[in-house]
Structure formats: C-alpha cells, structure tokens
C-alpha cells in the first residue's frame, strides 16, 4: 500500500524541529532514515498528519569518543556504525550487532536514533543499549533529559520519549580492557527481525565472569535483561551450575507466540543462546551445549 496523505516540514535546526513537534504534538512523527516509519506508514499502521523531516540536520550525525564515553548522534546510520573505527574499538558489541540489522540498502538509511525511538521489541539496538548501559539523550522545549536505556523502553513501540521531544544522541561507556561481549540471534533469513536474540556485555577476569549484562530481545514487549545470569557471576561456572541458570532462565521468560515461533520454542532458543554466550565469554567450548554431557 501507499502512505496516506500528510503535511511535510523539513526541519532547519534542532530548535526548529522541537518547535514543530511542540506545535503538532501527537499528530506529528519525526522522519529520520524512515526505515521503520515508512513501512509502518505504507502499511497504514501509522497515519500521522505531519511529518517532521530531520534528515538534513548534520549536527545530529557523527560519532565521538571523549573521556571513556562514546557519543553517537541520533542520525548516525547503521552503515556509519559498521564502518566506524571508534565503534569497532570502543563498542565492539554494537559493531557486531549492527551487521545483523536488516540488509545493506536499509542500513544505508536507517539510523540509530530512529531505531531506538521506534522501539521494536525484536530489534537489535534497543537491547544493545540496555546491555551497554547507554544513556539516551532527548531534547525538548524545556531542555535536555538524559534517560538510562534501562528506563527508556516501556512497551511495544513505546518509550518515555514524549511527542514534543527529539532523541538527539546516545552515550555509552567505552569498553574496558577486560570487557567481553556476545551477540547471537535466530532469524529465518539473515537480516530479518530476530525470533530470539541475545546481546551481552561483561567483564571477564581470572576468576571468571566478574560482571554480565545479558539482554534478550524478541522475547517480551521490550528488551529483557536476564536475571538468571546472577548465579554465574564471580563463581566457578560448572556444567551443572550453567544448567541450573538455564532452567531459571526458562522460568523467568514468558515469550509471546506469533507466526514465527511459539513461546516454548522461543524459550528453548533463549537457553541455547545463553549457553553459547557463557561458553564464548569464558572461552570454554564444553559449556556451549548448556551443561548437557
């Protein structure tokens, strides 16, 4: 189908974009790369009266590293993240995850801010932001708000961003020397939305997993941190303790059913991913089977 009719405004500055959003409120949608918004509009899932196009605001583009923090402008495209030496060096999890987002033609237009504001529970970047303990920076008429990613996502396509605010950047702590990460997802076709995915950032030292932020996507209405991994921290992981953690994960998750998979299949795939994750982070291939002999 085609999108229904709308009025179009090309924002000339961040301030102008916010003025337009304040004026039109819920009747307006922000257009960044359009790779989530345009499908939704073409399918008539969304029919905004106003489109505020921020695509020309070059001040929202770019990646910088300062004092152990990485700042990524909202209009930075997936293709830019993939090519960035800063992202590869300081946020390797993000680089690896981005390769799984859709296909080259989509990555050439889709933006990090757009993906986060859209908040599809099956998409990679929201979960990565939670795993990486990112701060989402939004701006409105009253000024800036810095929202922890852990509090930003509130449901299917829902966030704490108000209709009169613009997501302008995200900020991440740079990976440290002991940082280790894992990214894995199951999808029918490379680049499709994941049936289940896991993104994890941790710190590994001689004693094992010192810290682990493991976040699932595609299993809930928002990125879901796994609580079951707590039993694996600062302790010698054995096949039996991993099997127990996976059992606990199964009880903790209540994944939805859709045409791709039922809840039981998603729960099973989530356990497979967590076993792969722990096995990779500890560099112990024997744990990859999830504690089963």
């Amino acid at each position: 189908m085609k999108a229904s009719a709308f009025s179009y405004a090309r924002a000339t500055s961040i301030g102008n974009a916010i003025e337009l959003l304040v004026a039109h409120g819920e009747r307006a949608k922000v257009l960044a790369g359009g790779q989530s918004l345009m499908p939704a509009m073409n399918l008539r899932l969304l029919a905004p009266e106003w489109i505020v196009d921020i695509g020309g605001l070059s001040e929202l583009r770019g990646i910088s590293v300062n004092g152990g923090r990485i700042t990524i402008g909202a209009l930075t495209r997936h293709a830019d993240l993939l090519r960035s030496t800063e992202v590869a060096a300081h946020a390797p999890l993000l680089a690896e995850a981005t390769a799984h987002i859709a296909h080259p033609a989509i990555r050439n237009r889709g933006t990090i801010g757009g993906s986060l504001a859209h908040a599809d529970p099956a998409s990679e970047l929201p979960a990565c932001m939670v795993a990486l303990d990112a701060i989402i920076i939004v701006r409105g008429a009253a000024g800036e708000r810095r929202i922890p990613a852990t509090e930003f996502f509130t449901g299917v396509y829902e966030t704490t961003l108000s209709a009169a605010e613009l997501l302008v950047a995200i900020e991440l702590p740079a990976a440290s020397r002991n940082s280790a990460h894992f990214f894995g997802e199951f999808a029918r076709r490379h680049g499709d939305y994941a049936i289940v995915g896991l993104t994890a950032q941790g710190i590994v030292d001689n004693d094992g997993l010192n810290e682990l932020r493991a976040v699932f996507f595609g299993v809930s209405d928002r990125p879901q941190p796994a609580k079951a991994t707590a039993s694996l921290i600062k302790t010698a992981v054995t096949p039996a303790s991993l099997a127990q953690a996976l059992e606990a994960l199964g009880e903790e998750l209540d994944p939805p059913e859709d045409q791709q998979a039922n809840g039981a299949m998603r729960r099973h795939l989530a356990k497979v991913l967590l076993a792969q994750c722990v096995s990779k982070l500890l560099d112990r291939p024997e744990l990859g089977a999830g504690g089963r002999p």
Binding site: M1, K2, A3, S4, A5, F6, S7, Y8, R10, L31, G34, Q35, M38, P39, N42, L43, I51, D53, G55, A79, A102, H103, P104, A105, I106, N108, R109, R189, H190, G191
Partner: protein, 161 residues
Amino acid sequence: MTAPLPISLHVNGERVEAQVLPRLNLADFLREHLKLTGTHVGCEHGVCGACTVRVDGEIVRSCLTLSVQAHGAFVETIEGLSDSGEIADLQEAFRERNALQCGFCTPGMLIAAQDLLKQESDPDRAQIREHLSGNYCRCTGYQAIVDAVEKTARMRRERKP
C-alpha cells in the same frame, strides 16, 4: 502542506524538476512521473528489494524513501546502470547462467550485486548471499544468481592487470 512541493534532483545524470505530493515515494516518482519502470514495486515495506536504486552512490529502498527526501540527490536507476554499460558484464552473466526467469526481481538484484562488486573484488558465496539477503527471488532458487555474481567478480579480477 499536503499540497505539492517542488523538488530538484538528478536522475541518471539528468536534472529533473518536479512538483510532488509529500506522500509520493521515490519508486512511484520514478515510475509514474519519469516513466522509468525498471524500478519495480513489490512489497512496499522494504522486505523484497525489487525497488532498489542508488541514491548518492549508495543502494536504498525507493519504496521507503519519500521523493521529497531525494531533493538535491543524485539518483541512479537500473536504466542508468544499464545504459551506461556499467553492469553489461553482470547482465551478460545473468543471461548466460539463467539467473532470472520472470525478471521481476532482476533490476534490484543487479543493483544490489553491483553494489557488492564495487566494494569487494573477490566475494565468497556467503558474502554474496549476505549482500543479496534483502532481495527476494521467487523463480531461481538463488543458486544461479550467486553463480552469476561470482563469475562476474572473477571476470573483472582477470580483466584487471
């Protein structure tokens, strides 16, 4: 305004000025306004890849790009790539290997394949599959397409000194 807006862009090297409704996507602009019907419209939500074109040298989905967003851009369609001879060898390899049957996906497939070949002179089959993963073909089963892209890469490498 829901009224038409002026846009100015280059399409296949020619300057184009037009008045378009905001809701008009780039695929429909190319097809309906410019009669460049080589750009195909399949799913209209970014899944099938039939509408792939190049904007400022990079491949994009023209069904997910508004024509007003292409204001000031350099757009290249399958007609441009074909007429310039840029992909003559790739087209030949597709024909020889029967890498198309109904041909609906072929323009998008050719543009996506050329995009890979420009970035990677010696792609393996997995890389070819990954780069074309956003382009559906319902006839060939993909094997022949991957063969044709692989062969074109080989021929281009051999042609280079």
